[in-house]
Symmetry: C2
């Protein structure tokens, strides 16, 4: 179901500081959540973190001194190890009942920590959801202070998740379908050197439909966005495909 799940050794001291200092350090009632999407074995994968059985999106809060973009980059770097991660704004989620009171209560109980109803983390949160397309192979996920593990989930086999986090993932999935048609952004999901069959498969997976191989190739090449490199040596039967790279303009 997931790979590279990592055990996390929870630190009470860090958490206490998070609770007591957070209210001053961060903008209240506002969070950033990241749908981090990778592509592996012909499937779209989403990076999730585990807290108390349930899973949630990587995310965080906005320092009073930083912009939303800075916060997003900071959070992404912390969780993926990527120095210059791709990301794009997705949507705002902010219903009046969007509170994580129960989740935090459960978490604190399981760690024998005192629960305070009026703590800032129990207040209503408006979240700025983003999505990030990453190269699965280059991504080295790291859990946060509170997380027990991380895992890559298939986008169509999501686990039990916090609050509306599953809804956010599905919104990102739909958004990708729209964005892929126009923007080059999608190539972040592949290594810098890739073959047309790989790109073809990626598009088919994202759009969840079969695309004519011939037309796809011609369309991509006609766009002029790629440069052809040497051929790839395969072990499997069949012709060796060319490798391509996104043209740097």
């Amino acid at each position: 179901m997931w790979q590279n799940a990592t055990i996390h050794y929870f630190c009470n001291v860090d958490f206490q500081e998070f609770i007591t200092q957070g209210e001053k350090k961060y903008l209240p009632n506002l969070s950033v959540d990241m749908v981090i999407i990778g592509f592996h074995e012909d499937k779209l994968k989403c990076l999730l973190l585990q807290i108390n059985e349930k899973w949630l999106l990587p995310g965080g809060y906005i320092l009073r001194t930083e912009s939303i973009e800075s916060a997003t980059v900071r959070i992404l770097r912390e969780r993926t190890g990527l120095p210059d991660p791709h990301f794009k704004f997705l949507s705002v989620f902010g219903g009046p009942d969007r509170k994580f009171t129960k989740e935090w209560q459960h978490f604190l109980k399981s760690h024998n920590l005192p629960f305070k109803e009026d703590s800032w983390i129990n207040d209503r949160f408006v979240t700025l959801a983003h999505y990030s397309l990453v190269d699965f192979e280059k991504t080295n996920p790291v859990v946060g202070n509170l997380d027990e593990a991380f895992a890559w989930f298939n986008l169509d086999e999501l686990p039990n998740m916090w609050m509306d986090h599953k809804e956010i993932v599905l919104a990102a999935k739909e958004r990708l379908k729209n964005d892929i048609q126009k923007e080059q952004v999608t190539y972040n999901l592949l290594p810098t050197e890739f073959t047309m069959p790989q790109l073809h498969q990626l598009h088919q997976t994202i759009l969840d439909e079969n695309l004519d191989r011939s037309r796809f190739q011609k369309k991509m090449l006609a766009s002029g966005a790629f440069e052809r490199l040497q051929k790839l040596k395969k072990d499997s039967p069949g012709r060796n495909p060319y490798k391509y790279r996104v043209k740097k303009s």
Copy 2:
């Protein structure tokens, strides 16, 4: 430069309540701003409010008990009188220095009210910018408690505005260009019954380019989104155009 400018009689009592109660009533550090766009005399117009010489977007704060959508609708209704206004999320603006300290200080000074540096309205604000397309003729703008006047400005002749509000308007203008191509949303800018030449002119104005008359008409009719009504009686020379209405499906 503007029309229907309305004098506002400022009420100290209302403002005091706004300052003292606002911190409890509203989500802190978060606002909603609206780019309200109308179409009049072949020009796109934007509804702005005046406070102390400078102009700003209609906007407001989010009640702790309401969703962002509710807040947006509430603010729109208050300012336009429209019962069921169109709106669409535009973008988040939230740089670390996005504070209106100077503007409020100026405002308070001019009304002989005490200025408090640590008031919640002087803190950093992340704003959720939306745009709304309205029928110019049906819109009855109403100023807010603090505003001196309202006015419709041409989108390409914007006045001196608060902070990044001009940037937000220009973002909406660009966004319209993208949205008009796919969505029927744009017809909110016209009366329910309109002619093809009117729609043609609207599209040309939004896209800021000439569109082939013949092709435009055929494309619109081929979309099947419109139903033809009786002809319009004109006083000017030339053939009488048909009126159309968006098909209710």
